[in-house]
């Protein structure tokens, strides 16, 4: 059967057979870099188009339908436009930080790609502290946002950046606690191990109600962490015009925009990995026939399907809910999500120790 694992293995063997080990490693790095950048570009285009189409369908309109068949090339045209635009730097801005900020946000998003398993055996770096690495690196992007807000020399940007700082730092906690609950269940920080532990069933179904609660909290927390509505206070266009990226234009704005969507993809990929079994097909108990049919679907499709389902969920939130106020946002975290997830973690630990899970 067609598998990405065979292709990557073949390439690696060929590289090490043809070149010396250092050269092979460098070449591998270059290939990975190109792949990641290509993936970024494609993801950006697809996700923005998806967002616009989903929004349009919910808002009883058609959405982009002029450029290309059914408007498929709309985002490509938009990207072209953004690249052609002049990137203005406002007077009085801290030019170095102003220009650096979008790259920091972007690089942070790129780094989290490393431990994600896109398909069976298709993973850039199967580090043994994968989950820890993800939650550590994902909090770096807040530095970029703060930097952008501060360097813009704009009060709206500053307010947006400060909100974003408070928000991301708070929601890291409950996102981390929900991740830990899966780590407790699977007993490993390594992404491949976590996926392997879901061979017989996904943690969402195996961990009883506490796992479902952890999943819900995880989704809420990552929606907040990626600054998506209803937690888009950092941008809050009706309050702060565009928040931290008010002053950005052209390609630098495009980088922020792209990073937002890449972040959504990444957090949904992590959610899919932890709770929905990553590339693992859906297996139900002893229904051998059913399980075999499921196995025929390629693992990469399983992974993408789960991820895009979560992305759709987050988009659905955005186009339904009003925005929270900044103090309500924080009280939601500290008064509701954090206590619940701590208590939930206790329950999950109990389940894991007693082996009550399926």
């Amino acid at each position: 059967m067609f598998s990405l694992e065979h292709i990557t293995d073949f390439i690696q063997q060929w590289l090490y057979a043809t070149f010396n080990p250092t050269m092979a490693l460098i070449l591998e790095c270059v290939i990975v870099m190109l792949l990641v950048i290509g993936l970024f570009a494609v993801l950006g285009l697809v996700l923005v188009l998806m967002e616009r189409k989903v929004a349009a369908r919910m808002q009883i309109r058609l959405g982009p339908n002029r450029v290309g068949p059914k408007g498929m090339l709309q985002t490509a045209a938009d990207t072209l436009k953004l690249m052609m635009k002049e990137g203005l730097t406002p007077d009085g801005a801290d030019k170095f930080l102003f220009n650096l900020a979008p790259f920091i946000v972007m690089i942070a998003a790129m780094l989290i790609m490393a431990p994600i398993a896109f398909a069976k055996g298709f993973q850039i770096w199967d580090i043994n502290i994968g989950v820890l690495y993800v939650s550590a690196v994902s909090s770096v992007s807040v530095i970029g946002i703060l930097m952008a807000g501060w360097a813009s020399n704009n009060k709206y940007s500053l307010l947006g950046a400060m909100r974003s700082g408070a928000q991301i730092v708070s929601y890291e906690l409950s996102a981390g606690l929900s991740i830990i609950s899966i780590v407790v269940l699977s007993g490993s920080l390594q992404v491949s191990d976590i996926i392997a532990s879901q061979q017989t069933g996904w943690w969402l179904f195996r961990g009883h109600i506490p796992a479902i609660i952890a999943f819900v909290i995880f989704i809420i927390a990552v929606t907040a962490e990626t600054n998506r509505a209803p937690f888009d206070l950092a941008e809050a266009e009706s309050e702060l015009t565009a928040g931290f990226h008010t002053e950005y234009s052209g390609m630098k704005f495009a980088l922020f925009f792209l990073a937002e969507y890449i972040n959504i993809f990444i957090v949904c990929a992590i959610g899919a990995t932890l709770f929905l079994g990553g590339w693992m097909p859906l297996h139900i108990g002893h229904w051998e026939g059913f399980n075999q049919i499921m196995d025929y679907i390629p693992s990469s499709l399983w992974f993408l399907g789960k991820t895009f389902f979560l992305i759709f969920l987050i988009m659905w939130f955005r186009w339904t809910f009003p925005r929270l106020r900044v103090d309500q946002l924080l009280s939601l975290e500290w008064k509701y999500l954090l206590p619940i997830s701590m208590f939930n973690l206790l329950l999950i630990t109990l389940i894991a120790i007693m082996g009550w899970h399926f």
């Binding site: 919910m58 808002q59 209803p230 009706s238 106020r325 309500q328």
Partner: protein, 386 residues
């Protein structure tokens, strides 16, 4: 022209009421508007913030001031009515109605019953359309985009009905002194009934989507509280005052046309916060539907316009008429010297008075609350600037 730095300096140094609310040094002064997504027009607010908390709001008006009152001094009594559509463009019909009433009061003209009923029907349809737009825009201010499209779907139906009968979608100029410009379109009754049927189903959807939403309730409840005494002192009218428990519906207090013959309730909420103002408008939608339902099958036969002279001349004197627009009490004050044009005309616009309460009710709120407050004040900027 205004220079931003000057405004900021003036905001720092002058404290209108002196004493305790003088602005301190750590304050952040930001300009909301005149180009801002939440001000829905060219309203310019200079906001003094302490962190995210609002200390003071100073409205700067005039970006769309056209001196309509001066213009009207050189227009005849037939001509000046159309100008008022450009003030509160969302309730253009009702503005025109107020002007027509004032001229009729001066001429002591009896409006035929058919015209009266048509006028009231149009007023209520306009009110529904205006509240629809407000509902969508208010939800959008609070970050929910989808309601805007649902609201516009229904509003578009009203606009189509208007277009068919009045010939225009927004600035209809359908009211003339003595009646209406032409008779209703043959399809009018059927289309309005279809609309009513469609609309009553949709109101529940609005409740599911926005009214009952926990985030929305938290954003509006207890935000921007206006007490009844303040509402009266600030001259607030319409849903803003009724949300504070002040009975001020002109349709009930000083009924004009056939409002004393139809059954409807004046909606009064007592909480005085943004949520109360929101509820008043949502419930008013149902009351407007009720009025339309009562009248749509009972349009009396007869003339749609009284016979008037070609050139209208008001006798020497002063005339004041008021109507209830979607935003509150709209007053027209005409001073006539007996000529063909008004000597002095003053439009008492509801938005102007409602805006003056903004500073008072939003002090101490968060900047996010300002959007909820402005949304429920339902400001239309051309109405304020005139």
């Amino acid at each position: 022209m205004y220079r931003e730095t000057q405004i900021i300096e003036s905001a720092k140094t002058t404290s209108p009421n002196g004493g305790p609310d003088a602005v301190d040094d750590g304050a952040l002064v930001i300009n909301v508007g005149p180009q801002h997504p939440a001000t829905h027009g060219v309203l310019h607010l200079v906001i003094t913030l302490q962190g995210e908390t609002i200390q003071k709001i100073e409205p700067h008006l005039g970006y769309i001031h056209r001196s309509i009152e001066k213009m009207c001094e050189s227009l005849s009594y037939r001509q000046f009515i159309y100008v008022t559509s450009r003030m509160d463009y969302l309730s253009a019909h009702i503005n025109n109605h107020g002007c027509a009433l004032c001229v009729e009061k001066g001429l002591q003209l009896e409006v035929p019953p058919r015209a009266q009923v048509i006028r009231v029907l149009m007023d209520e349809l306009t009110r529904i359309a205006s509240h629809e737009l407000w509902w969508g825009a208010m939800a959008m201010d609070l970050g929910a985009f989808t309601p805007f499209f649902y609201a516009f779907r229904e509003r578009e139906t009203i606009n189509d009905i208007m277009e068919e009968t009045c010939g225009a979608r927004l600035t209809m100029n359908y009211m003339v002194p003595g009646g209406v410009m032409y008779d209703i379109h043959p399809n009018f009754q059927k289309r309005v009934k279809d609309f009513i049927q469609l609309f009553t189903n949709k109101i529940d959807e609005y409740d599911d989507l926005v009214t009952g939403n926990i985030i929305f309730q938290n954003r509006t409840q207890g935000v921007g509280v206006l007490t009844a005494a303040d509402a009266i002192s600030y001259g607030c009218t319409g849903p803003v005052a009724r949300g504070s428990g002040v009975a001020c519906d002109i349709r009930k207090l000083y009924p004009y046309e056939v409002y004393n013959k139809v059954a409807f309730d004046e909606i009064i909420e007592t909480a005085g916060d943004s949520y109360a103002r929101y509820l008043v408008r949502i419930k008013e939608l149902k009351q407007s539907v009720r009025i339309v339902e009562q009248l749509i099958d009972n349009i009396p036969e007869g003339d749609f316009q009284a016979k008037t002279k070609a050139v209208l001349k008001l006798p020497k004197g002063e005339f004041y008429s008021r109507v209830e627009t979607a935003r509150g009490e709209f007053g027209v004050y005409i001073v006539s010297e007996g000529g063909t044009t008004p000597y002095r005309i003053k439009f008492r616009s509801p938005g102007f008075s409602n805006l003056s309460a903004l500073d008072h009710i939003s002090r101490g709120c968060k900047i996010g609350d300002l959007m909820a407050i402005m949304g429920t004040l339902d400001l239309v900027i051309p109405d304020i600037d005139r």
